[in-house]
Subunit: 358 residues, 2 copies
């Protein structure tokens, strides 16, 4: 199934596995998706440069096909604007229940420059990003290294900004999508636009290839996205419960047992809006005025880690899109193959032309 | 373009114009959509039985093709649970600005039984509804009268309830949709599921034909919906700016000039969650604890009417879906024809089989 996105990325099928940071995107998962003809993505935002390098080497040992590394574009933040005592108080009950102490010094983010340096040095085939647009010098360096780039947009405005910066492709992230909202211009509410509405409006406004994301779980979603004028899809939740995924087993079980009514958009875990399954933590934290990303993320890290260790999903971030009923615990290759096979039956897609709304 | 929905409703194309209550759905609009081979719908929820009868006669004078009447299923409400002084105080500044007095006795809703009696007596071809499921005796009477029925669902649970009641078809209303949310089981937040995610999950859970709604504006949206497994679409905002639409001219202009970032889900106008363009009223009323539907609706009626008369869109309910950039001020027949022509190019649809996700 050839589209502008398969030509740009050098892949067989227009199916990109989302860069789910924080565990799911093991080298095994990334390589399995790429081997099946899609584009696997290492969600490297929380990884040290050394860990990224090691993971890239592992991926390359498993596949010679293209893959992506995904990072978060840094935003300014000021931890001193928040009272650590107050933040600690909002989390004290959870620490007590999990039997852990309040942590001392916190580390907030990995250095984006250092992470990106690995991407450049390793000449990773594709670099994707979210939360903004990298600086010109970084995009120039990526271009010079022959690395294809893809940014994330949740509105037309953002898609236009991504294109204007010279990025090669844009992922239109609909409101259904699991995980962090990529919104970087204006409040996150403005970027909560459903995939069915967002994709054609983005397609009409940019010239670069568009990947549709949000609620896409199978061949029906791929076919629908191509019909809307997208050049391919990015799927996250669809790969979450695969055996190759490094997601916590309790997290996988929670997603496989969830319905479309059970997700919420919360800032409770990281300080940035993200869609995941409702649980005790999201519900109890609802009224709390949490600090911005990445401050809150750093403050909840030990709670999330201890909850995962104790298999207490009620305190874990259970990122999920709005179609968890369609998640399947099958090998990643099967997800890619079935998605493409079904979509090929539905849609008469042979390039951009048929999707034009003009 | 034949699907299960065209066979059920006796129409040529699987395109239903949504029952936008409160002005847009003039007999001219309804008839124009039906004449073009779609299904026009009279949004009759706020109309008296006599007005519905007159509109039905006008539609029949303009077309011999099938059309629908849409009503709100009544829900229990108690106006005495709210303090009219307090409600009046929250609206006083608007009344002052518009130069109107606080109204005396309020009428809350039209009698659903009396409205439905007209639908039965006139043997309207299709009856569609939202906000719940009619009582068994009403559905029995509709069936005996040979009237096809379609209910609205915002979750799988609701779609299953609609089917279990013996309704002929279900509209899966995604979060993108403009106007009132049809959610009737659980809080409206649980029913804010994007169309891309909702439709396949509903299709997998019911056997009756499914209409996709929410963010669908052209042939790309119809093709995408069929790809997701739906049997047709319901489009509202796509018909709002048509010359046949009775929407206020200021309202049409506002939608035609809006972007996908500018809608919000608000209870401010009616007490029930509905998606429309943000304006001064939705923003200023954000923190106000407004009474439930239809109490708030009755209390704001004079404000909305005076605002419309004075062309003050900042106090009008400007219901819109999340793809206003795709709205066009063209004849309704052109919307239907272009939608179908483009979709036919994109999708290899020839019935339910190709949309199956199994």
């Amino acid at each position: 199934m050839e589209t502008r996105i398969t030509r740009l990325l050098g892949i067989e099928h227009p199916v990109v596995q989302a860069g789910m940071a924080g565990g799911p995107t093991t080298p095994r998962l990334v390589a399995a998706v790429s081997e099946a003809g899609g584009l696997g993505t290492l969600g490297a935002a929380y990884m040290t440069p050394a860990a990224i390098r090691m993971a890239v080497e592992e991926i390359r040992a498993l596949t010679q096909k293209p893959f992506a590394v995904n990072l978060f574009v840094p935003e300014p933040f000021d931890p001193s604007a928040y009272d650590p005592e107050e933040i600690g108080a909002s989390l004290a009950a959870y620490r007590e229940e999990l039997g852990i102490e309040t942590p001392g010094e916190l580390s907030y983010v990995q250095s984006f420059e250092d992470q990106l340096a690995v991407v450049l040095e390793e000449r990773v085939p594709v670099f994707s990003f979210t939360f903004g647009v990298p600086e010109k010098e970084h995009l120039d360096a990526l271009r010079e290294a022959g690395i294809a780039t893809a940014g994330t947009a949740t509105t037309v405005r953002e898609a236009v900004a991504v294109e204007a910066a010279g990025v090669d492709a844009v992922t239109a992230q609909g409101a259904e999508a699991g995980g962090h909202r990529g919104t970087f211009l204006g409040p996150h509410e403005g970027g909560l636009v459903g995939t069915m509405a967002l994709v054609p409006q983005v397609v009409d406004s940019v010239g670069i290839p568009v990947l549709a994301a949000g609620g896409i779980m199978d061949g029906r979603g791929l076919a629908a996205s191509l019909a809307l004028g997208a050049d391919g899809v990015q799927m996250g939740t669809a790969f979450l419960a695969c055996p190759e995924s490094g997601a916590h087993e309790g997290y996988k079980r929670a997603v496989l047992g969830a319905t479309e009514e059970e997700t919420t958009v919360t800032r409770a875990f990281s300080g940035k809006a993200a869609r995941g399954l409702k649980n005790r933590f999201t519900e109890e934290m609802e009224g709390v005025d949490v600090p911005e990303y990445p401050v809150q993320n750093a403050h909840t890290r030990d709670v999330r880690a201890a909850a995962a260790k104790a298999d207490r999903t009620e305190f874990m971030s259970l990122w999920s899109g709005q179609a968890p009923r369609l998640a399947r615990p099958v090998p990643a290759a099967e997800v890619v193959e079935k998605t493409v096979a079904l979509a090929s039956e539905i849609v008469t897609w042979d390039g951009k032309e048929k999707g034009s709304g003009a």
